[in-house]
Amino acid sequence: MTADTLAGWSAANRRRAEAMLAAYPDRRSAVMPLLYLAAMEHGHITEDAMREVAALTGMTPAQVQSVASFYTMYKRDGVGRYLISVCTSISCFLLGSDALLAAVEEETGTAGGESSDDGLFSVEHVECIGACGGAPALQVNYELVEGVAPDKGAALCRWLRDAGPEIVLSDEMQQLFGGRRSFDWAIREHEGAVAPVPAFAPYGSSGEEGA
């Protein structure tokens, strides 16, 4: 059944899907990692992706849709190459996230959670990303940058457009465009942000091939 359902998937992702299904005693437990994988395969979670995950897990597409639509990080619409998430929760709001969001939207040509016409950027506003000490904060492809002033935010977008980095890294962006960090006083080693996180290995998202 796996083979039929995933006929269109890349060989690497097919292998990962099989590993995920094998990792749980009940197939339906694999629904969340499989959705993530399906999003990688299709670019975002399409209706087909939900049908495929349903077939793999023995759930109905409606149930898979229920899971996929609950979590905001499962993107059901296409996202640009760089997803910029601007925090608008209370600490960031008090320290000017509105202005930051406006600057980012203007620079990227996106309005209200849309993607830019060239497919390069998507901008969304998000709830707390755990960086209150470094507010206002944003993420690029879920890599955190703290203490971003509106003009620095716009500069960050220009840099993304011009330099077009293959992989964005939190520390690099922080150095170029960030301000005060939450934990400037604390641990300094770079582990976690740049080194592979073992728990993420099956997703193939941390530079390590899935088991």
């Binding site: 209706e47 023995g58 109905t60 597409p61 409606a62 149930q63 849709q65 229920s66 639509s69 609950f70």
Partner: protein, 817 residues
């Protein structure tokens, strides 16, 4: 409730002490103690979720009084609860205010208005007015989520009753919550409709008007409806229903929670079949055929004609078929009419599509549906229950998913129960005896057989046995029952589908049986009946197929049909047609001008479900009362009254001034029904129905299932002619909402077999059997056993094939099979 009061705990509700079942949910314990706690999401037949927060109560804890949801709180010794404190009242008011924020309050145009829990509880517990002045949530309204159900998301209060029902109870979760927070909504997947056989239940349990059913929508206001409790006559499960009518028209059927049977649930066929009652195609006047054309006639003329024609031949030249769709009283009157007025031994309620009448009516160790609750293992070797007996399917499903029973399903292809089955065995029709042999033996066998053997060692076992399709030999089910008898703690539930077939057999509508489960061959039973009835014909009469053969060959000249359509339902449609065409005289008592009635000489219009009063007997032998709420159309009459009138004109007497008097006679002459009365079923200990024989009765017939020799002979492809729920039966055909749901006909083959024949899906083939031939497109069904072709029975395109055991397959163009 139970006698073991020692096990009960004492709880205090609003200052008064009550005894309660330990571990019971507070909301239920309080209700049993007489305190109603308001609720939306909690439903007694589903697991609690604590979703709507309406049932908040104050409970004393070591850390002081706390608000908690009564639907998720198990009771324990010493629990102190306040359901009416100021804090609780404020909480309830707050919850309702929140629920009403997005509720459109379009009650005047809402179907639920007048019977709406949100409306009622807002009146009782809610704030007097709204403080919400902002814009409410808007959705397109209503949207169809299936052919039968519409969804209005603005009205929805997100209690999850519908989504939980479809997941927990019916097992087809095609509706679910989507999105989150303020955007949360119930919805289907974009291109996958909520096409469940049980979708109507979600409409019934929806506590607001978010889900509405197309057949009822805008037809009535609840306060204009009169209701009467009755029993669904769509299949032999005997689901309890509330039939609701206004101005002499049935407008709605709802489920009633009868613990031993349907527990509140219905199939959509049970629920929406009322359209057939109101059909414009109902017979309204007697019809007499003259020169090949029907003309309307008076009752007196039609009955006089029948009396004359039936009186002019010898009694044993007349045969009677039918009664399986009638009440017990009507079936009894039919049998008495045939045996004492016409004086014929040829009568049958089945059409050779069921099982041995002695097995159905009087097997030893017969199970009840409630036995499923205690079963460790359930063997289902019968038709696909989801298609033929959908509410029994729900009960088996519940046993498997809630009560931990392991289910062993044996069937020629996939069935609705496969996803909850511990073991599934697929076999080619005809090879059932071999499979049974390998289940019985200890020799090495394929893994599923070994697994089934292991599962069946764990008792108590309930075996649901029936014919997997009319193409299967009837002896197999009995052989399965004989096998099942040797299993630990085994009980047997023989199943057949037609509404009151069990009642009709109990009323003696078979050459093998006399009323009350008496073998026709029993001298003692015969003499007891003759004391009441006078002489009755010798045993040895013809059953359905010999009756039809007799009509074809001239040994039988006349036929009386009671709600019976052999041209459609007999496994050999050509034989049925020849029999009807060759017959000297055919009279059909029916609701509709069926295929068979069209070939009759006289057709008499009957009153049917919801129009006639009586009792019915379900597949476990449970007798329940059916009731009348509307008169039949035109000049239709109840069958017992027609037969009584006809008897008098033929010089006999049924002694039946009313159906209730017939019940009194049944209770006298039918040993298994001794002690029954309408009164007892309506007001006495028979409110939930009574499984006969009760303590007052006895059952002379003790049929021991017999593993008779089964031959697997037959050339060609083994046919599986399983029925589908929405077939072309007269009730579905006459209910426009259901008729639209009939599946497309096809001849299904396994992928390898399709390759062998050299056909692909969609290509036409001709299936040729001994009883007829049909041309059908090919469908691929990978769940079929090799060498099997599956053709859904009784669809317009498949009916002509009948149900032979084997067929030949021919490609339309070029090579053959």
């Amino acid at each position: 409730m139970t006698a073991e009061t020692g096990d009960r705990v004492t709880i205090t509700i609003d200052g008064r002490e009550h005894a309660a079942e330990p571990g019971a949910l507070l909301i239920k314990a309080a209700e049993e103690a007489g305190t109603y706690i308001p609720r939306f999401c909690w439903h007694p037949r589903m697991k609690p979720v604590g979703m709507c927060r309406m049932c908040l109560v104050e409970v004393e804890t070591p850390r002081g009084r706390m608000l908690t949801t009564a639907c998720t709180m198990p009771v324990a010794e010493g629990l102190v609860v306040d359901t009416k404190s100021a804090v609780v009242e404020k909480a309830q008011e707050g919850v309702l205010e929140f629920l009403l924020i997005n509720h459109p309050l379009d009650c005047p145009v809402c179907d639920k208005g007048g019977e709406c829990p949100l409306q009622d509880q807002t009146m009782s517990y809610g704030p007097g007015e709204s403080r919400f002045v902002e814009e409410k949530r808007h959705y397109e309204k209503p949207i169809p989520i299936s052919d039968l159900v519409l969804l209005d998301r603005e009205r929805c209060i997100l209690c999850a009753r519908c989504t939980r029902f479809s997941d927990e109870i019916s097992g087809d979760p095609l509706i679910e919550f989507k999105d989150r927070g303020n955007l949360t909504q119930v919805i289907t997947f974009p291109d996958e409709a909520f096409s469940s056989y049980f979708s109507g239940n979600t409409v019934e349990i929806c506590p607001v008007g978010a889900l509405t059913a197309k057949p009822y929508r805008f037809r009535a206001r609840p306060w204009d409806l009169e209701a009467v409790e009755s029993v669904s006559m769509v299949d032999s499960f005997g689901s309890r229903v509330s039939v609701q009518a206004s101005q002499n028209e049935v407008l709605r059927i709802n489920g009633v929670d009868n613990d031993p049977t349907n527990q509140g649930w219905l199939s959509d066929k049970d629920r929406f079949v009322f359209e057939a009652i109101n059909s414009e195609h109902r017979l309204t006047t007697p019809l007499v055929k003259e020169n090949g054309e029907f003309r309307e006639a008076q009752w007196s003329e039609a009955l006089e004609l029948i009396a004359e024609r039936l009186g002019s031949v010898r009694g044993d030249e007349v045969a009677g078929l039918g009664g399986a769709r009638s009440t017990n009283e009507e079936a009894f009157a039919f049998g008495k009419f045939l045996r004492t007025v016409v004086v014929t031994p040829h009568l049958d309620a089945q059409l050779d599509d069921g099982l041995d009448p002695r097995f159905l009516a009087g097997t030893v160790a017969r199970a009840t549906v409630s036995d499923l609750e205690e079963a460790a293992t359930i063997l289902v070797w019968a038709a696909d229950l989801k298609e033929e007996l959908p509410v029994l399917y729900l009960r088996v499903r519940r046993a498997a998913t809630e009560l931990g029973a392991s289910v062993v399903v044996v069937h020629p292809r996939r069935t609705g129960l496969d996803d909850v089955a511990a073991v599934k065995l697929t076999y080619r029709p005809g090879d059932g005896a071999d499979l049974l042999g390998s289940l019985r033996s200890k020799r090495r066998a394929r893994a599923e057989v070994t697994a089934a053997r292991a599962a069946l060692k764990d008792g108590p076992v309930v075996a649901i046995v029936g014919r997997t399709s009319a193409a299967e030999r009837p002896g197999l089910a009995e052989a399965v029952a004989a096998f099942a008898r040797d299993l630990p703690g085994a009980k047997i539930l023989p199943v057949a589908r037609r509404a009151n077939v069990f009642g009709a057999l109990d009323m003696g509508l078979s050459p093998e049986l006399l009323p009350g489960r008496v073998p026709a061959a029993s001298a003692q039973g015969r003499s007891a009946l003759e004391e009441a009835w006078g002489p009755i014909p010798e045993p040895g009469g013809r059953s359905a197929t010999p009756i039809l053969e007799g009509l074809r060959d001239g040994a039988v000249s006349s036929l009386v049909l009671l709600g019976c359509d052999p041209a459609r339902d007999h496994p050999r449609p050509i034989l049925a047609r020849q029999a009807l065409e060759n017959a000297g005289f055919v009279v059909a008592l029916d609701l509709f001008l069926s295929d068979t009635a069209q070939l009759a000489d006289v057709v008499l219009p009957l009153e049917g479900f919801a129009e006639t009063e009586g009792t019915v007997t379900n597949l476990e032998g449970r007798v329940q009362k059916v009731n009348r709420i509307i008169p039949g159309p035109g000049r239709s009459r109840p069958a017992w009254s027609v037969l009584g009138d006809l008897s008098r004109r033929m010089g006999g007497d049924l002694g039946a001034p009313s159906a209730e008097v017939l019940m009194e006679e049944i209770a006298t002459v039918a040993p298994a029904y001794r002690g029954l009365s309408w009164d007892r079923l309506e007001w006495g200990d028979g409110r939930e129905g009574l499984v006969v024989p009760t303590g007052d009765g006895e059952q002379p017939l003790q049929h021991v299932p017999d593993a008779a020799a089964l031959d697997g002979a037959g050339d060609g492809w083994a046919l599986h002619a399983g029925r589908v729920l929405y077939d072309d039966g007269v009730l579905t055909r006459m209910s426009p909402s259901l008729a639209a749901l009939a599946p497309r006909a096809a001849a299904y083959l396994g992928p390898a077999d399709a390759g062998k024949v050299g056909v692909e899906a969609g290509e036409e083939v001709i299936l040729r059997g001994p009883y007829g031939a049909v041309a059908l497109p090919v469908g691929i069904d990978p769940t079929l056993a090799g060498g099997t072709v599956y053709v859904p029975a009784n669809l317009p395109a498949t009916a002509a094939l009948g149900a032979p055991s084997h067929v030949e397959i021919e490609r339309l163009e070029g090579g053959g099979s």
